[in-house]
Amino acid sequence: MSSTKIFLKSSDDKTFEIDETAARASETLKNIIDGGCLDGVIPLPNVSSNILPKVIEYCKKHGGDNGSSKKIANGGVDKDKEILPDYDEEEDKREKVRVDELKKWEEEYMDFDQQVLYDLMLAANYLHIKGLLDLTVEKAASMIRGRTPDQIRENFNINSDFTPEEEEEMILIEDEWDDEWAFD
């Protein structure tokens, strides 16, 4: 486990330590490491000190294995895998346990409020951590899925910029579109 330590500096000048293997989960950091710019601390002016530990936590879990994060992103099903007749069931089971474990971990990991979600998304985007970005984006998408426009506005703090007339028309359209949405 002992690998080179890398120091990351958050936007508010706090320094965090991360293993090199873990840091490689981030494309941006990987490029910096491979580019040989490792003298001292890597400043991350876009990531604050409340988010960076969260990011590092993710990297630690996923450092080195981008494959599994991809699997998670696909809902635990690796679609590329071709199922051959001589398919190893044992291997499949182990894989399944591992995926389940990761899923559970991610569930716990993703338990935070909205502001953290956006900051995390920004950080993941900035640091190019695909798995984390997928995870956060999926969570944001799940906050929209199946909601009414009003709920979406509330969730994302969006002000409707339609004029009252336009809104009325839209409501009419929507009523026509599917009777009533109040279903439950």
Binding site: N74, G75, K79, E82, I83, L84, P85, Q114, Q115, Y118, M121, L122, N125, L133, V137, E138, A140, A141, S142, I144, R145, G146, R147, T148, P149, I152, R153, F156, N157, I158, N159, S160, D161, F162, E166, E167, E169, M170, I173, E174, E176, W177, D178, D179, W181, F183, D184
Partner: protein, 664 residues
């Protein structure tokens, strides 16, 4: 070119007359020809600066140097071009930006001017042109995309916002349009549509169901309903609602041929000959040309996508004779096949089909091939066969059946289907159960496994005919029962669960459909003459129309970096004619001649496409298409110095209303 007057009259309703000059259309829009045009263009720049050249030669491509873009407008108009920058290949400083050939996948078919050459021989006659407009390949990333005002998401990079929204099922996406203007705007951005489309066809978004109801409510009509479970998890339970207004084509009755990548192919109900292809979500459709041949048998058909050639193809096979030959020697039949490629725009013979295919529409499109059941006759033995038609190679093959599978024709009924992207064989036995075979690796006989057995008795129904529709993410099977309800079957516990869905039609067929905003025009291809054999139109879409006209006002103009035009007007000149009535009013106010002057100038149309068609009209809900006319200020909003003829200091922008919904 210079000094030549070319007057093109623009008529409402899709035709225009032209002057004496012969206008040619370009039929090749390859990247290379674009390059050639850029070069050609630059050469001509050297010759004479006062030329009428649009910013987007590839849209109006015409290799004939006499007429660059299939048409031209009078150079006596008081404007000229001093900028020949192709925004695709050159940045604002005129530097080559590299190969943008990947954009070709959007099929940027140009404004086409179709000209009947026979008519052209009569000199002096006002020749009619049918024209067709395709989406200009505008660099929409630059043009439309700007930071969104979407609440707390505003700070996120656009890519991330797109990523979030592209994961939404089509119904939720449709609702997002009424959240705020910027959200609505996103659903019109081509890059976003592409992202969403890709997710939808790759199955990342759970597909919705299209319910096709026939002959219900004492009416001879067919309707298509969209059923989309809308919840976060992949269950239909209790939440699904059949969306109310349906996709209602002008022709009231139809049958469904197949759904592929968000497009739906429909057939006429008598002989099941395929007649339309449509995107039921946007309501866009095209008619396929009527067949010349007639038959008294059901037409065997199919609809699919050839990934290699990026083409959508409709297959139609007509029986001319069937003699199954039982008892008196070998059977005989004659089945002629034809393929309609959407990009080619015409029916093409593929010769005789070697198998007497059974059924009307192909029930399974898997692995780039359509599949049908058929029989092979060996003396008196009849064996069921699975026959595939590869859309790329256009050849028929026999798909190996499950090993040891020799179904007796009397005791079983077979059908094909797709579950989880794999070919399935449904075997209905007389004792009332359904066995589902799945071919786990396409083409490999050994990979067939009998995955599910559905016992009708355990459903609690006296009689049940189950059609498997979908494999749910939790492993349950979604089945259509007796064409009247949907049930979920848990293969582990072997129990059925009824799904209660509001507004379900009394009798319907169901088909899975990857709902997408994919513009049908992108699938419809090149500038072949034959494409004019069919017409575009819009039906009432499954989802409510995109209220784009409200949101695409496009007010944030940026000053042109290419110099300014002296006739710059303020934004207040921005005017939209949404309806023919408004246009009529405008005509009255401005004087008919003046208004006609405006609309007649074909160059105005060019200008429109040069601007990337940033106009969105309300869909016209009818087949009649009228023009939407916009006056906008000459201030070029995206740094494109492409000024049209100025009439009263205003630029004219025209757009076809019927195209509006997909113009990005």
């Amino acid at each position: 070119m210079t000094g030549r007057r070319r007057r093109n009259r623009l008529k409402l309703g899709g035709t225009c007359n032209k002057g004496k000059e012969k206008v040619k259309e370009d039929q090749s829009h390859t990247v290379s020809s674009n390059n050639a045009q850029v070069n050609q263009k630059n050469e001509e720049v050297a010759e004479g600066p006062h030329m009428n050249i649009g910013s987007y030669p590839q849209y109006f491509g015409c290799e004939n140097s006499d007429s660059h873009y299939g048409f031209d407008y009078g150079s006596d108009s008081d404007f000229s071009y001093d900028d020949f920058t192709d925004p695709f290949r050159y940045d604002e400083g005129g530097n080559y930006r590299g190969d943008y050939s990947h954009r070709a996948e959007f099929s940027p078919y140009p404004f086409l001017c179709y000209h009947d050459e026979e008519e052209d021989e009569e000199e002096g006659k006002d020749d009619d042109y049918t024209f067709m407009v395709a989406i200009p390949q505008k660099d929409e990333d630059e043009q439309v995309e700007r930071p969104m005002n979407v609440g707390v998401m505003s700070d996120l990079p656009l890519d991330v916002v797109y990523d979030i929204l592209s994961r939404l099922p089509i119904k939720t996406l449709a609702r997002c349009r009424s959240v705020c203007k910027d959200m609505c705007r996103i659903t019109h951005i081509r890059r976003f549509i592409k992202m969403h489309h890709n997710r939808a066809i790759q199955g990342d978004i759970p597909p919705s169901l299209l319910l096709h109801a026939r002959y219900c409510f004492d009416e001879l009509r067919s309707d298509v309903y969209l059923l989309q479970h809308d919840t976060c998890d992949d269950t239909l339970d209790g939440r699904a609602v059949v969306s109310h207004p349906l996709f209602s084509p002008p022709k009231n009755e139809f049958e469904v041929v197949g759904s592929c990548n968000g497009l739906l192919c429909l057939s006429e109900p008598l002989y099941y000959g395929p007649r339309f292809v449509c995107n039921p979500i946007t309501g866009e459709y095209i008619w396929l040309p009527k067949p010349d041949k007639r038959t008294n048998f059901d037409i065997v058909s199919g609809f699919g996508y050839d990934e290699v050639a990026n083409e959508y193809k409709v297959v139609r096979m007509l029986f001319h004779s069937i003699d199954i030959g039982l008892g008196n020697g070998s059977p005989s039949f004659k089945l002629e096949g034809e393929v309609y490629s959407l990009s080619l725009g015409k029916w093409r013979d593929i010769g005789d089909v070697p198998y007497p295919l059974r059924g009307k529409a192909s029930p399974a499109f898997v692995n780039g091939a359509l599949h049908w059941m058929t029989e092979s006759y060996d003396f008196l033995n009849v064996t069921d066969l699975i026959v595939s038609f590869d859309l790329g190679r256009e050849e028929f093959r026999v798909v190996p059946p499950p090993p040891g599978f020799v179904p007796g024709r009397q005791s079983h009924r077979l059908n094909l289907g797709v579950l989880g992207g794999r070919l399935c064989l449904f075997e209905y036995s007389i004792i009332g159960h359904l066995e589902i075979w799945i071919m786990k690796k396409y083409g490999v006989k050994e990979s067939w496994t009998k995955e599910y057995v559905v016992w009708q008795k355990s459903s609690g129904r006296d009689s049940g005919h189950f059609t498997p529709l979908r494999l749910m993410e939790n492993g349950e099977l979604l089945l259509l029962c007796n064409s009247e309800c949907l049930v979920l079957y848990d293969p582990v516990m072997k129990i059925f669960r009824d799904i209660w869905i509001r507004g379900l039609p009394p009798c319907f067929e169901a088909i899975t459909h990857a709902g997408s905003l994919f513009p049908l025009r992108n699938a419809v291809g090149l500038a072949k003459r034959d494409r004019f054999n069919f017409s575009f139109g819009e039906w009432c879409p499954v989802l409510f129309p995109i209220p784009a006209h409200k949101t695409m006002m496009y007010g944030d103009k940026q000053p042109s970096e290419h110099g300014s035009n002296p006739d710059v007007e303020d934004e207040e000149d921005f005017q939209i004619f949404q309806t023919p009535e408004m246009w009529d009013r405008f005509q009255r106010e401005e004087g008919t001649s003046n208004a006609n002057e405006i609309i007649e100038d074909f160059g105005a149309l060019l200008n429109l496409f040069g601007k990337g068609m940033n106009t969105y009209g309300r869909e016209s809900r009818g087949s009649s298409c009228f023009f939407e006319l916009r006056l906008i200020s000459t201030l070029e909003d995206r740094g494109i110095q492409q000024l049209g003829p100025t009439v009263g200091g205003k630029d004219i922008i025209l757009s076809l209303t019927s195209l509006s919904i997909i113009l990005i």
